[in-house]
């Protein structure tokens, strides 16, 4: 049973490290919490002639990861470079307006073309 919980702790610890490194927010609390619980259970389940050093170390590692995961929840999460992005949007809008002007001029040109054609037809008549 103790071995099972130690194995589970290792598994959850690996997941915890990945989740703590990645900005997973509150999701990271799940593997770190489970790692801590299974590490505590493993350390409680004592076996004669077996050292308690490994489970105790796992409890410390899981606790540290849990603290980091909780601390990361308080780090400000905001959109960076908002001004640059806004400038990019304004540039895109200006380009679009120029393109729309060009399209309108093309339309006006094709309209005048069709008027010329009609004039030619009426002259022939």
């Amino acid at each position: 049973m103790r071995t099972l919980f130690i194995t589970l702790t290792y598994f959850f610890l690996v997941l915890s490290i990945v989740f703590v490194i990645l900005p997973m927010g509150s999701i990271a609390l799940l593997p770190t919490g489970l790692a801590l619980i299974s590490a505590i259970i493993a350390s409680v389940l004592k076996k004669p002639n077996k050292s308690t050093k490994v489970p105790k170390t796992l409890v410390i590692i899981a606790s540290v990861l849990l603290v980091i995961a909780i601390a990361k929840l308080f780090v400000k999460n905001e959109v960076k470079g908002k001004e640059e992005f806004k400038l990019e949007q304004l540039q895109s809008q200006q380009e679009a307006i120029n393109e729309l002007e060009e399209l309108e001029n093309l339309d006006a040109f094709s309209d005048s073309d069709s008027i010329v054609t009609m004039t030619e037809i009426s002259l022939e008549n």
């Binding site: 999460n77 895109s92 809008q93």
Partner: protein
């Protein structure tokens, strides 16, 4: 598990009038940017915009500038009567031009979202489906909207508690399977503000909640 989510990105929808020397257009835009924590892992800076007729919402020009995890797409559609002239450039490569035949009522994805807000859901029965065509990635797609009735959303950003129309956006394949994988809650008032969006993607599920809505 719905509470176990991580804040990933911010989406801004904006609608405003713009003028050229001869015309007035409604500029519809959607921008998406990842939060700082995610920027070093998967940075997103997307701009989707459409220039449409203010009354008919017929698009003239659609632009899409996508930057997702180092991958870049720049796309432009010029709408004709039954076709679009598409210019697409991927990762800064030479742009390619193509003409795509589309239906009379086909719009781009941004306009489609605004057209969705023009639907009078009060006249729709629960389970009723209405479809419209959109052009995305230079291909025409049929998107169907299934009306699922009214529901109250407790936290609708700065709007507080709101009674909403619950609708499901479904592809043709999902209609046959009867699946409602992408849900949108629009306020059941004249504004029809999107206050909650739930969607499924291959790697999991996502949710967009309204932060704030402002009107001029």
């Amino acid at each position: 598990m719905s509470g176990m989510m991580t804040q990933f990105a911010e989406i801004t929808l904006q609608s405003k009038r713009v003028k050229t020397s001869n015309n007035t257009y409604q500029h519809l835009s959607l921008t998406a940017s990842t939060y700082s924590k995610w920027d070093s892992f998967f940075k997103i800076r997307d701009i989707y915009e459409s220039y449409v007729n203010p009354t008919s919402l017929t698009p003239t020009l659609y632009k899409r500038q996508v930057e997702e995890g180092g991958y870049r797409i720049s796309e432009k559609y010029i709408f004709g009567k039954n076709s679009i002239k598409a210019t697409v450039s991927r990762n800064g490569r030479q742009p390619s031009n193509q003409s795509v035949t589309i239906g009379n009522s086909t719009t781009d994805i941004v306009t489609a979202f605004y057209k969705l807000r023009k639907i009078n859901f009060n006249n729709m029965k629960v389970g009723q489906i209405t479809s419209f065509k959109i052009v995305f990635d230079a291909t025409e797609h049929v998107v169907s909207v299934r009306y699922l009735g009214k529901e109250t959303v407790a936290r609708a950003g700065n709007l507080g508690k709101k009674v909403c129309h619950k609708i499901s956006m479904v592809s043709q394949a999902d209609i046959l399977k009867g699946k409602d994988r992408n849900l949108v809650w629009l306020t059941a008032d004249a504004q029809k503000i999107p206050v909650l969006i739930r969607f499924n993607i291959p790697v999991g599920a996502g949710q967009a909640t309204l932060k704030s809505a402002t009107f001029n």
